[in-house]
Amino acid sequence: ARSVSTMYCRTTHYVRINGRANGTGPPSGKRLFQGQESFEQAPMYVAVMTYLGFGLVTLFGYFRDFLRAVGLEKCHIAKERDEQKDFVPLYQDFENFYTRNLYMRVRDNWNRPICSLPGPVFDVMERVSPDYNWTFRLTGKTIPNVINMGSYNYLGFAENNVDFLKTVAERVQQYGLGVCSTRQEMGNLGIHQELEELVAEFLGVESAMVLGMGFATNSTNIPALVGKGCLILSDELNHTSLILGARLSGATIRVFKHNNMQSLERVLRDAVCSGQPHTHRPWKKIMIMVEGIYSMEGSVVCLPDIVALKKKYKAYLYLDEAHSIGAVGPTGRGVTELFGLDPSDVDVLMGTFTKSFGAAGGYIAGKKELVDYLRSHSHSAVYASAMSPPVTEQILRAMRCIMGLDGTTIGQTRVHRLAENTRYFRSRLQEMGFIIYGNDDSPVIPLLLYMPGKVVAFSRAMLRRKVGVVVVGFPATPITEARARFCLSAAHTKEMLDKVLFDLNEVGDELCLKFSQRKYTSRPKEQHHNNNDLNKDFKQDSL
């Protein structure tokens, strides 16, 4: 019997108000939008064994370092020369120790080379290591038609169908590939302006600016918005690009607990009451930085609460929708649409084109004055090379497809299929007994594995069954919470998902990964799959 005593689950109910822009007058139809997030904790022995495992491998790490220092073993990794031995040591910090002794042993699970389009299925190149992962050798064979559960391909726009890419090919013939200039000098093409207008229309804001790189959109624009004397309130689990941008700006940074509105309110009140650290003058600007979907947790930001807090304390809101634009919301417009909020409530909307649009780059959108200011004051807008023409055309065609402007309903079908896939996959995983983090609507699904041995064995076992998964361990996640992260796609068919679920079930039993202690009502048993169905190869074909 399973008990629910050790479970932490938060159910948040959001009220969705239809239609009104300014919120006055009675809402015509109130629908209750339930966003349920759960972060179940594993039983105590799991944490104990995880620490024990790390401790043992660390001990063996010290032993191997000793052997290397004495000379009994050849050192494959960088070490100081004899002349440098009297100076400050270079390779003794924890990060280098960890890389040498823990990461190198198992690094065949990361950076696997692929040799095809990263669509719903792809080809992985086979490689072997004769010396326990210090060096690799490609055998020349590929593992064909591995199901791709790791690419950020939410709407399936990473495709190479010639019909869909006709306009992109035309642009290559018209403009070539490199722009050879910045937007400010000679690189401002007509399609760039067309894209910016389309992005503004897509998001429902006044104006938008596009940049060539998503990471650089955050790290170079935040210094243009805030500076010394301003305060940034950043969520605990924000992405590195946001943290880098905040640090580069020189503003004071305070962190609040992940998605926790009480913590945010407390920090806001303290900031407004006490002002700047020594002088107690009021802050010039207070900016709250959050993300739409946090990719390591799969959680969705509590946007209505944050907007209410921002209005109460007169702060600004910077929303990074890298993973949520195109992937959530009834028509793929992101978290503002998911909660039924007005996009002009958010001061700075930022997003990337890498995930749902199958291209590269980022955008910043908001009021016209803001975007005009950023065009001349942001580092990447002034100095970075302009976006390449075929990439711009890919974003244009993808966005028109989602909005339905190309006359077809392909875009809407894909958005709905992603939502269905998400619901199906999440509910089946929870029924099987795995611990899943995050909101029921997010297409990013972290599956908790906890122990380092199991993380590695899981990745290898799934690759043997021709499913490619991404596993994440210590520096990117807390030390006891290693996980596998699934990114669903609208291009995944139900057969592919069923095969992945079947394999997950078997691997979960084999490795004892089903830690969940919740009780679920059993679904009616689906017809059992024959092995013939599941050994079917999933060929790459266009949608």
Binding site: F54, L56, M451, P452, G453, A457, C512
Partner: protein, 80 residues
């Protein structure tokens, strides 16, 4: 999971032990070192408990029976 024989089941148990203690990520000779160290520690524990525990239990039982045996005798002496 269906196991054809006991050997397969024992192999699976050994695999679980490797995974849980994270010895799975080590090279085979390191696994042998760890297994031999663990086995010798467990053997020493078993041997020590075999030597020590029966003697101590016997002594402890004697002490307790001594206390319980004395009480009724002393009260009888007082009454007489």
């Amino acid at each position: 999971m269906d196991f054809k024989n006991v050997k397969e089941y024992l192999g699976w148990l050994y695999y679980q032990y490797l995974l849980i203690t994270s010895i799975y990520v080590l090279e085979p000779w390191e696994q042998s070192i760890f297994n031999s160290v663990l086995f010798s520690i467990l053997a020493m524990v078993v041997y020590t408990s075999y030597m020590v525990v029966p003697v101590h239990v016997h002594l402890a039982l004697e002490v307790f029976s001594g206390i319980c045996g004395e009480q009724p005798e002393s009260t009888m002496a007082l009454m007489n």
